[in-house]
């Protein structure tokens, strides 16, 4: 017995103008955030934005990946607290390379120095945390940092948190990123 969906697809392919629609119109609709939002509403499709933490995960995937489904990629928080600033560019580039190779995650970088340029280079989201040695408020720094990270986990729908050491990514970090793609 032939699958009815396949039968329908075969019929659709015979409709005049089908190929034009498939090649020109459909890609445009897919690329249009407004059209996709409308489709989500009409068909009540799970958009992938709502997360188990109750937050949203429609954060940017950066500027390296392309195609449909970016908003469904898991969000990975890379915590670079205490990482020497001259290491950050190298770390970000390695993450970017892994992202292109696997197309499996969206990174967010948490830094404690305003080293935005190497992160902005790939269009990734950066979050800045006040470093411990600059923290003079009554609230303990750990409480502040924990609250900020918790807020990010919830707000961005973070799937995994990687704490990157001062030497950059280690094999555990790489394996975790590779696990997503």
């Amino acid at each position: 017995m032939t699958d009815p969906l396949r039968r329908a697809a075969r019929t659709a392919r015979r409709i005049p103008g089908y190929r034009y629609l498939r090649r020109v119109v459909v890609p445009r609709l897919r690329r249009s955030p407004a059209a996709r939002a409308l489709a989500y509403r009409i068909f009540a499709v799970e958009s992938g934005r709502r997360t188990s933490a109750g937050g949203w995960s429609d954060v940017t995937a950066g500027n390296l990946l392309g195609g449909i489904g970016l908003e469904r990629l898991p969000v990975v928080l890379l915590v670079l607290i205490g990482t020497p600033t001259d290491r950050i560019a190298q770390i970000v580039e390695e993450v970017a390379t892994m992202q292109v190779l696997g197309a499996g995650f969206r990174p967010i970088f948490v830094i404690d120095s305003p080293t935005f340029a190497p992160i902005r280079r790939f269009g990734y989201l950066a979050e800045l945390i006040t470093p411990r040695d600059s923290w003079t408020a009554a609230e303990p720094w750990l409480a502040y940092a924990g609250r900020r990270l918790g807020s990010m986990v919830s707000l961005y729908g973070v799937r995994a948190v990687l704490t990157v050491g001062p030497d950059g990514l280690d094999d555990g970090d790489r394996a975790t990123l590779a696990a997503y793609g």
């Binding site: 429609d58 940017t60 560019a89 292109v100 404690d112 080293t115 470093p131 408020a137």
Partner: protein, 737 residues
């Protein structure tokens, strides 16, 4: 062309011998061919770089093809990401359609040799044109600066493009696919079953199968006389026959390693839709290397010559049975196919064609770049003021707040929360700072981003407990109102400049009700202000600049600090941050005109500019605050944003103003017109060499007089008044609390 070159000089870590450019996500032969060429290059000792383009043929987000990914992980090739320049001995672009549609994703690439591998015909089966060779050629020449050489993958593609590329730009030999024969070879000492076993592997696409049911049945029998095995799916067969014959063994694409699949066949039989131009047929080459005789339609003969056997569809079954009955003939066919594969499609074939273009390799080193300094300690012993800046096109909001903040010291303790990634400049003034990503930086829908901003502002307010919050921006975010409701004891100030475009942003003005005080930094061009703020209530202070004139370095000192030569006349060209619109054409014209007048050029690299590059032969500086060193310059060509405009006029730099008309609110043109009408500066809507040259000559001659007129208009730096206002608000807040 037979010139032997090494790669051009390029940045460390981004210089390679061979640069392969393609959409690296393709699931089939294109990616496998790239992988095979990488192996050949690596074995020869050449370094390979890969630049991935998100092309039009892959709709969904998808990983790089596993065969290429494995080579990157094994460090046999380097995936190059980012927009920094790349240098390569030779660039090989595979799939012209990718270059046609995605060239804007490329970084700047320096190379002496560019090969465009035409691995598909321009037209698809239904006449759809995937690429235009003429357009691709022109785009490639513009992008790479060298004449591309077209390299068709086989005779069939050659025939479709030969008349569409310029004479002399078509490689005489085809850029055939290559294969490591030893890696694919599989010994065949006996038949696979009691009947002939034929098979094929390809993508599951209608064009990859015969479209005529009779032809399909003739080539791939469904009567059980021959066993048929398929790798790659056969849903297209359903479309032709109405079902997949029950005796066939069909696996999906990727269901088995092709090498193992081929090992289980006696014959590889590949026929497709006659309307389809199969560019090469990599799977055929794999079958030949494996040792499976390939039976093909005659049109493949120019490509594979006597490495395969050719037959009309009606003759295929008979041919299979005949060879099945003559083992010696079968083995002779196998040996001939393998020999041909080694001779014509081996790694050596590829090494020879690369060696025609480049010399033996050099080494590649990874690049490491630095970053700015860390933030500094907060002072909690004085009343705090929280300065909140939005992220405009430049650094204006942040700089203006900094101007206020440094003048509130030592009475108050400024603290910054900015949506600008340039927030680190605050560290130079020993003020603590925080960053909250803007809506644009997160990619989040604005409605949800407001929740983020509200949370960050609320968190900062609870921790810092400011007496006053000052927001500088033209669009107060709703989070301000929400946080203000929670913290009514704080004084809220909206710092917003005037000179809004006429009739623009009226609805934003109503948000003045969210604030206790509206502070308006003055504008030299206020008489030309036609915006809605003119009639609104505000505390108006003089034009605000970060520095006062007395804080500027003298010419010699400034030039020394900026690393500029002391002698020659020098112009500053600062046409706004690069993330509103592309000013490169204005920059180019400005540089040309200045050079023709014997004036050296200094270009700025604003910290928040996303992608800027200095033109060759000019100076590039990145400095904050640059206004401290404005005396280094004899004249300036600048956009007419609030800060630049007032710094140039206040600090006496003869200026040509080029208003940025792409700003949402700021009436830069009004500012520029005012300055020109009052003899304070010149202005141009768009820079051309012809138009700008006489104006620059005039500035060089009469600039000092214009500067003097501007000085006469200056009521003094409004930042001091603004700081006084903030102190008063802090006092009021303390009394009320």
């Amino acid at each position: 062309m037979n010139l032997i070159d090494g790669p051009p000089a390029g940045p460390a870590g981004r210089t390679v011998d061979v640069l392969d450019i393609s959409d690296l996500r393709f699931p089939g032969g294109t990616s496998h061919s790239i992988a095979e060429e990488i192996r050949a290059q690596a074995d020869a000792g050449w370094t390979t770089g890969l630049v991935h383009l998100n092309g039009p043929l892959v709709a969904r987000v998808r990983a790089v093809n596993p065969s290429i990914r494995a080579l990157v992980n094994d460090r046999r090739a380097q995936l190059i990401v980012g927009r920094e320049p790349v240098a390569a001995g030779v660039v090989v672009v595979r799939h012209p359609a990718v270059l046609q549609t995605a060239a804007e994703q490329l970084p700047p690439i320096a190379t002496d040799h560019l090969v465009i591998v035409a691995n598909a015909a321009p037209h698809d089966i239904d006449g759809h044109q995937h690429y235009r060779p003429e357009s691709v050629h022109a785009a490639a020449r513009d992008r790479f600066g060298v004449e591309p050489i077209w390299a068709p993958i086989g005779p069939l593609v050659r025939a479709t493009i030969a008349h569409r590329v310029p004479p002399g730009c078509l490689r005489s030999e085809d850029w055939v696919n290559i294969i490591d024969v030893d890696a694919w070879s599989h010994p065949r000492t006996e038949w696979r079953a009691d009947r002939p076993v034929i098979g094929r592997h390809s993508r599951d696409s209608p064009q990859k199968w015969p479209r005529d049911p009779a032809v399909l049945r003739a080539v791939y029998p469904d009567d059980g006389s021959i066993l048929v095995r398929v790798l790659g799916g056969a849903s297209a067969v359903e479309g032709v026959l109405g079902r997949i014959p029950p005796g066939w063994h069909v696996q999906p694409f990727g269901g088995q390693a092709p090498r193992d699949f081929l090992a289980d066949l006696d014959f590889f039989v590949y026929f497709h839709d006659p309307r389809w131009v199969e560019a090469f047929g990599r799977t055929i080459l794999e079958a030949m290397a494996s040792g499976v005789p390939a039976i093909l339609p005659p049109h493949f003969e120019p490509t594979f010559k006597d490495a395969a056997t050719y037959a009309e569809p009606a003759d295929v079954a008979a041919l299979v049975h005949r060879l099945r009955g003559d083992r010696a003939a079968y083995e002779a066919l196998v040996a001939r196919a393998r020999e041909q594969a080694r001779h014509r499609f081996s790694h050596d074939t590829h090494r020879r064609r690369i060696a025609e273009l480049i010399a033996p390799p050099g080494e590649v080193r990874p690049a490491i770049s630095g970053g700015p300094a860390a933030p500094v300690l907060i002072d909690t012993s004085r009343p705090a003021v929280l300065f909140v800046s939005s992220n405009g096109a430049g650094m204006g909001h942040l700089t203006r707040l900094l101007a206020y903040a440094r003048r509130t010291a030592p009475d108050l303790a400024p603290h910054f929360l900015s949506l600008s990634q340039a927030v680190g400049v605050v560290a130079a003034y020993d003020f603590p700072f925080e960053y909250a990503p803007s809506s644009g930086a997160t990619g989040m829908a604005p409605r949800r981003w407001h929740d983020l901003f509200t949370a960050r502002l609320d968190d900062a307010v609870r921790r810092i407990r400011p007496a006053v919050v000052v927001f500088d921006g033209t669009w107060p975010y709703e989070g301000i109102l929400r946080v203000r409701t929670e913290h009514p004891q704080i004084r809220w100030v909206w710092s917003r400049r005037g000179m809004w475009r006429a009739g623009k942003n009226i609805e934003q003005l109503a948000k003045a009700a969210w604030f206790d005080t509206v502070l308006e930094p003055g504008d030299f061009a206020a008489p030309f202000d036609r915006g809605v703020t003119v009639a609104s209530r505000a505390i108006r202070v003089g034009p605000v600049t970060l520095l006062d004139r007395t804080e500027l370095e003298d010419r010699a000192q400034a030039r020394q600090r900026l690393g500029l030569p002391v002698g020659p006349p020098m112009a500053l060209v600062t046409l706004g941050a690069g993330n509103i619109n592309d000013t490169s054409r204005d920059v180019g014209a400005s540089v040309t005109a200045l050079r023709s007048l014997g004036v050296e050029v200094c270009l700025t690299r604003p910290e928040i500019t996303e992608a800027g590059s200095a033109l060759p032969g000019v100076h590039a500086i990145a400095d904050f605050p640059l206004s401290r060193r404005l005396h280094a310059f004899d004249l300036a060509i600048s956009a007419a944003g609030y800060n630049s405009f007032h710094e140039l006029l206040r600090f006496g730099v003869p200026s040509l103003l080029v208003p940025n008309t792409a700003t949402a609110i700021d009436d830069q043109e009004g500012r520029a017109r005012f300055a020109a009408q009052h003899g304070l500066a010149h202005w141009l809507g768009r820079v051309t060499v012809k138009a700008v040259t006489p104006l620059l000559e005039d500035l060089l001659e009469r600039g000092p007089a214009m500067v003097a007129r501007a000085a006469a208009l200056d009521p003094g730096n409004g930042a001091d008044e603004a700081a006084d206002t903030l102190r008063q608000l802090v006092e009021e807040q303390g009394r009320d609390r």
